[in-house]
């Protein structure tokens, strides 16, 4: 008997696969190979550290996209939960010396619990109340971080010395087949493996019952109620999961940077994440990662190449009319406006268009 064509879907099980077509599976394999090989090719510490930060940002962005892109709720409080995750890591991993398999879930749990406490205040109301409540949260958070010295070290910050080994592998110094890899290389693997895991978890979430409910609430909350979706419950659920993921990003951030201070969890960080999900594409997991690559790398690049950009002031009292910080702010603002006006579906939308073009090539429609 002739073999059925490779693209023929014969049952629902096949239809529900995430990577159903041979092309999608090839793409997945290519991505995985890239992730494994990249740190061996790019050995430069600066670029590796940029990629590690991008990966951490991608984790957080996936979390925000779940809330904003899939559930339609805007949160300005992402920075608060990222900070909380970093401090939990400093305490559980650093002071108590717990291993990676404990401090990472603990950070997620703490973020989720904080989200569960704060969510109900904002999300039982319709409209953009969450944005307002979480805006307040960032400032309450900054105050807490500055004064809750036992945990955060106050204004001067605290060091985070969490162990990062998984069984025999120490990500600070990976030894593989006689070869020793640096801390940056190890962290690249750790962080990007977590990007893949979080992406998979969220992708699964949004294609099953709870994820569909989130999207129904986003599109039309009253119709959602009428067909049996308890909108309030799902808004809070999305906020809890999103906060937990943000705390995972914070935990990775703290443990990689080994030192954190309250200045890092400000409104700009939250706005950076909003820029990422808008630029990457609201309501897509892949877009969150794309956005993190393009927008998340910007601050590090500006910091590094600030000297070469005319008009940028790299030191206090130096020449130039705009500081690095202000330039970042301006760029995020411009990106948000440009994408909302010109390409509301973000980079993911552009990617889909390119894919559709080549699928129907040589026909243009």
């Amino acid at each position: 008997m002739a073999k059925p064509h490779r693209n023929l879907v014969r049952d629902y099980r096949q239809d529900l696969r995430l990577f159903g077509s041979p092309a999608a599976r090839a793409g997945l394999a290519a991505m995985l190979v890239t992730l494994v090989m990249l740190p061996m090719v790019v050995q430069d510490d600066f670029w590796l550290s940029v990629l590690v930060y991008v990966g951490i940002t991608a984790v957080g962005a996936i979390g925000l996209n779940l809330l904003t892109g899939y559930c339609g709720q805007i949160s300005l409080g992402h920075a608060f939960f990222i900070g909380a995750g970093a401090y939990v890591t400093g305490w559980a991993g650093g002071e108590l010396g717990l291993p990676l398999v404990l401090w990472l879930p603990m950070a997620a749990l703490a973020g989720g619990l904080l989200g569960a406490v704060i969510g109900p205040f904002a999300l039982r109301l319709r409209g953009h109340y969450l944005a307002i409540v979480t805006l307040g949260l960032v400032f309450v958070g900054e105050h807490l971080w500055r004064n809750f010295r036992g945990l955060t070290g106050g204004n001067s910050g605290t060091s985070v010395n969490a162990p990062v080994s998984l069984g025999p592998i120490d990500f600070n110094r990976v030894e593989l087949a006689g070869e020793v890899y640096s801390r940056n290389q190890g962290y690249f693997w750790l962080v990007w493996a977590l990007v893949a895991i979080v992406a998979l978890l969220v992708k699964n979430l949004v294609r099953t019952r709870p994820g569909r409910a989130l999207q129904a609430v986003r599109d039309r909350d009253q119709a959602a109620e009428v067909i049996g979706v308890r909108a309030g419950r799902y808004k809070i659920g999305a906020f809890v999961v999103s906060s937990a993921i943000a705390s995972v990003a914070g935990a990775l951030f703290g443990s990689y940077q080994q030192f954190v201070s309250p200045d890092e969890w400000n409104l700009l960080l939250s706005i950076q994440y909003i820029a990422i999900v808008i630029v990457g594409g609201l309501g897509t997991v892949f877009g969150s990662i794309l956005g993190a690559v393009f927008v998340g790398a910007l601050p590090a690049l500006i910091d590094r190449f600030g000297d070469a950009i005319p008009g940028v002031r790299t030191s206090v009292g130096g020449e130039g009319f705009i500081s690095v910080f202000a330039l970042n702010q301006a760029i995020f603002g411009v990106l948000i406006v440009l994408f909302l006006v010109l390409e509301p579906r973000g980079l993911a939308g552009i990617w889909l268009r390119i894919k559709a073009y080549f699928k129907s090539w040589p026909f243009s429609y």
Partner: protein, 258 residues
Amino acid sequence: MERLTPLLEVRDLVLRFGGVTALDGVSFDVGAGELFAIIGPNGAGKTSIFNCLNGVYRPQQGTITLDGTPLTGRSPAAIASLGVARTFQNLGLFEHLSLIDNLMLGRHHLMSTGMLSGMLWWGKAKREELAHREAVESIIELLELESYRRMPAGLLPYGVAKRAELGRALAMEPALLLLDEPVAGMNLEETEDMARYLTEVRRQLPLTMILVEHDMRLVMDLATQVLALDFGVVIASGTPAQIQDDPQVIEAYLGGAA
């Protein structure tokens, strides 16, 4: 005609918005298996009855009981779980989700996968997804929606979107289906298509339907019982034939002494 034991009992429903009385002491019974039509001029209170039935509005007075269970005071989501489904006059589809996902959402209250098990795509979550997908496919087949499966609901042609919404309501496996103007804005051909689908659904599924509709031909052809409203008050009820000749109904529709 002998009527069956009522599935839905509505007694003395009063609904006010400030000084405006939308429903003023409306009572009626809907028997199991009936296709019960509610007619009346614009603003008569037809959609208000639906909004009371599924909990979107809270009536100031009166009771609604479905199969012995009181519905008044419950949330829309709770009423949906008790088996009341509805379609909307101006479409209530989730426009960014595919037709399949819209129909799967109809089965939300029959499923149980939570956030964590959904994330892990574990045995039970996966099995549940497959089982309900099969149920949804049978509705897609019944309503002949096969070629639109993957299309975002917002891009569906109007007539198809109306049918998809009927499909989502059917996916809920309701005991009582509320149809709010299923053929509004349709041409004759589309109206006849919808009538055919409704007849087919009634033939295949053990459903009780309440239909709000302006298209008198459709109502007279399909309905087993008709309730006529004007200014929130019941002016007549009975079989289509009885309603057609009722002088008060003629007056409400044609206005004044004709």
